[in-house]
Symmetry: C2
Subunit: 117 residues, 2 copies
DNA sequence: CGGGATCCTAATAGATACTG
DNA sequence: CAGTATCTATTAGGATCCCG
């Protein structure tokens, strides 16, 4: 059986570390539904995210080439975000997780209660 | 378009928060390969995890009913872990992510480099 | 409008020592 | 062997103010 000593080299970890943060996955799902969206639109859709975290999250997703950022140099500024092809290719896998989560959430919550008692 | 204001009620977030931590997913994949494993076996396989984090991670997975913990009351103690049916049902979805990650890691690393410069 | 810069707090993770 | 307990370091995340 192979060893998992050098965690950093694992491609999976690189992905999970990114989409496993507090907001990335949510932003991806929102952008899928909204197609092309401005910063403020995303912010309004995910009401509980802070401006800073939305900025940070968008930048990280852009760095990974999962979303595209287009700036319109005008006053007031306008910035639009949309999924790249790579980003779109990730979404089916996320949806597969979403389905599993929806189906199993009830059972998991039951388990947690039993475990706590 | 629906709003994602109350993040906590989202079943997806509950799942991603759990498997998106530093070690859970790795432990699940290791247990899949190893079938039934003792604490020390898992620890040897994932060399870089601390004893504390392995304990914490196993407990969380057990609470969610994803793994089963069996204690043999003897000296020295022996504790075995294995996937539950629910845990097994999650794994295909993780593998789907693993595949995507493996295929796209090269491109993502390229993107990150370009973005940094 | 879409951020950037700074400060601060809370949550996570690791090291170490100890135990039934 | 399989953990606990405690302490410390690191990181994630939020609040606030500012700016072109």
């Amino acid at each position: 059986m192979k060893k998992y000593s050098n965690v950093e080299s694992c491609p999976v970890r690189n992905v999970i570390d990114r989409i496993g943060d507090k907001w990335s996955m949510l932003v991806l799902l929102v952008l899928e539904e909204g197609d092309v969206m401005r910063f403020s639109e995303i912010h309004k859709t995910i009401e509980t995210i802070s401006q800073k975290m939305l900025t940070v999250t968008l930048k990280a997703l852009e760095a990974d080439g999962l979303i595209n950022r287009e700036v319109y140099p005008q006053i007031p500024p306008k910035v639009e975000y949309k999924l790249t092809e790579r980003g779109k290719s990730l979404l089916p896998h996320l949806h597969s997780l979403v389905s599993w989560a929806a189906e199993n959430m009830g059972g998991i919550k039951e388990s947690r209660k039993l475990f706590a008692s």
